[in-house]
């Protein structure tokens, strides 16, 4: 009998799909130009013309939130792709070669864990000036050791299996085996980790942009919108609500999706419920 899909998977998939859809639509259409200022129409209440009102420069809040969604998804995607591909390659390499290479890769990964994304972004911002690119690099960097560990642990299991031994007996080299036999079979844990790291990356981008180390004006970002709203908290408290809700929905969606995928693909790891 098929077990029903876990609740967290379904809620997560729905929320993540919603955020991705909004981000995708914003590329082609937003109610207004997200950066278009209209000072006479500043601080408008939510209404028919502006669904969530306007900000201190009369910019439409919904349009900004939508454009920021696209930005946030792009940052998370690029950071996880960079960090994931380097990390998985290192993990595969460590597992395939073993010995001192494996030790070296894993010790270097341990050192990577000493740097939260914030510290790395601070260093890059101090040297090169704050920018979204530096934020992406910082988030990508902290993902490398995460993926290296996951990939190595999963790959080490595959290397003990009979079909790998058969491939070796057939004379295929370690890199060929890693690519053709190990990589496809560690896809499940890697994809689960990538989904979870996607959520972490969204949160990290928001925090870095809030602190001024990420998206620079006029590039729209939920984190930067919150930083601006905080200075206007007595004038327009509602502006400090919406961007935070967006961040929460996006992080919750991808986080639940990742948890749910893990429960489905690896029942041994699912927690006590």
């Amino acid at each position: 009998m098929r077990r029903p899909l876990p609740v967290n998977l379904m809620i997560g998939a729905a929320l993540a799909a919603l955020v991705l859809l909004v981000a995708f639509v914003s590329v082609f259409w937003t109610p207004y130009d997200h950066a278009a200022m209209n000072i006479p129409a500043k601080f408008q209440e939510p209404g028919a013309a502006h669904w969530l009102g306007t900000d201190q420069l009369g910019r439409d809040v919904v349009s900004q939130l939508m454009a920021a969604a696209a930005n946030s998804m792009t940052v998370a995607l690029v950071a996880v792709l960079i960090g994931g591909s380097i990390g998985v390659s290192l993990g595969l390499l460590a597992s395939a070669l073993g010995g001192w290479v494996e030790d070296l890769v894993m010790r270097v990964a341990d050192i990577g864990f000493a740097f939260p994304a914030l510290l790395f972004a601070i260093m890059l911002a101090a040297v090169f000036g704050p920018s979204l690119t530096n934020a992406v690099l910082a988030i990508a960097f902290i993902n490398i050791p995460v993926f290296a560990r996951v990939a190595r642990a999963a790959a080490n299991q595959i290397w003990t299996l009979d079909y790998v031994t058969a491939a070796r007996a057939a004379g295929i080299g370690v890199f060929g085996i890693s690519r053709d036999h190990v990589l496809p079979n560690i896809a499940a844990p890697v994809i689960v980790q990538a989904t979870i790291e996607f959520a972490v990356a969204i949160l990290a981008e928001a925090a870095l942009s809030y602190l001024g180390l990420g998206a620079q004006p006029p590039s729209p970002s939920w984190g930067r919108m919150l930083a601006e709203a905080q200075t206007l908290i007595y004038l327009a408290p509602q502006l400090a609500i919406y961007p935070g809700l967006c961040i929460m929905i996006a992080v919750l969606g991808f986080g639940l999706l990742g948890d749910g995928l893990r429960d489905v693909t690896d029942p041994r790891l699912s927690r006590v419920r």
Binding site: I122, V127, V272
Partner: protein, 314 residues
């Protein structure tokens, strides 16, 4: 056991050195001229040359690295450009603020998480359990800086019970504590969401064991069994996560200080970025990274002390 601790100590020192190499490399060897970064593009060639000499930039990188480490070990972290004083003194002035925030945040985190986690486990599959799990899911997805803004909105702007930010100094302890309440709560609520989940699942696993049933059967009250029999045996995974969280509490403090305008090391690091004060940034990043490494080191040691089953294997 002694050998295990010795090995971990060596590993700790080696990791610290490796981390310092990374910090130094990113701050010094990457393309870019620190003198130009500090003085700006329109600086004269003489001024640039003078600053390069003062920063020791004419020496080869390995020499500068070694002198940075040797000086740092002796308490000399270099001079801050923007403040014109030794970085060591700058850190000393602001350390108290960050330590107060991190320690109070950690204490509230652990207290909240234990109460929520044990409470959820003892109400397994009932309303209290679902409530805690739901709240912690929200807490994990909520950025701490947004929670801070919401707390300010409610308790400072609407109710006017607490100040929205700033720090009056320790001369007036009541005002100082009032200024720390919202930052501490913002820091702790988000962190305790993760820890409460770990506490719950760890407690649930222990509660299935026979000796817990025996303890209940021999007449101990439910609460006594929970806190005296279940909790101590559920501690090992909790301590691991607490150690990992100490690192995120410390970096979280960097963010929270900036949300609430608290004059700690987190504010200093951002002022230094704005002022292009590279020696100060380098010293502070190294300090925070060292705290993260030290927290992991202490967790490893505690883990071995708490869980005697691990002793034989180390």
């Amino acid at each position: 056991m002694a050998f295990f601790i010795f090995r971990r100590c060596v590993g700790f020192v080696l990791t610290l050195l490796a981390v310092s190499v990374v910090v130094f490399a990113v701050m010094n060897i990457l393309p870019g001229d620190p003198a130009l970064t500090i003085l700006g593009l329109d600086a004269s060639e003489d001024a640039l040359a003078a600053l390069r000499a003062q920063l020791g930039l004419n020496d080869p990188a390995p020499v500068r690295y070694v002198s940075w480490i040797v000086n740092a070990v002796q308490g000399d972290l270099g001079r801050s450009h923007s403040f014109g004083v030794p970085v060591f003194g700058l850190i000393g002035e602001r350390l108290g603020m960050t330590v107060a925030l991190a320690v109070s945040g950690m204490v509230v985190t652990v207290a909240l998480a234990l109460v929520m986690g044990i409470g959820a486990a003892s109400n397994h599959r009932r309303f209290g359990d679902w409530g805690v799990m739901f709240l912690s899911q929200i807490g994990i997805a909520m950025p701490a800086f947004w929670l801070s803004i919401l707390l300010v909105l409610l308790f400072a702007v609407k109710l006017r019970w607490l100040p929205p930010g700033g720090f009056p100094g320790w001369d007036d302890p009541v005002a100082a504590i009032r200024a720390l309440i919202l930052p501490t709560v913002a820091l702790a609520l988000v962190q305790s969401a993760v820890l409460a989940r770990v506490t719950r699942s760890s407690a649930l696993e222990v509660m299935r064991l026979d000796y817990v049933r025996t303890a209940r059967a021999s007449g101990f009250s439910r609460q006594r069994v929970l806190w005296r029999h279940v909790l101590p045996n559920a501690l090992a995974p909790i301590v691991t996560i607490v150690g990992m969280q100490f690192a995120s509490v410390v970096t979280g403090a960097i963010v929270i200080e900036n949300v609430f305008y608290l004059p700690g090391l987190g504010r200093l690091i951002f002022q230094s970025i704005a002022n292009r004060d590279l020696p100060t940034v380098q010293a502070l990043v190294m300090m925070f990274a060292a705290i993260v490494v030290a927290a992991n080191f202490i967790v490893d040691i505690l883990y071995a002390l708490i869980d005697p089953r691990l002793k034989g294997r180390m």
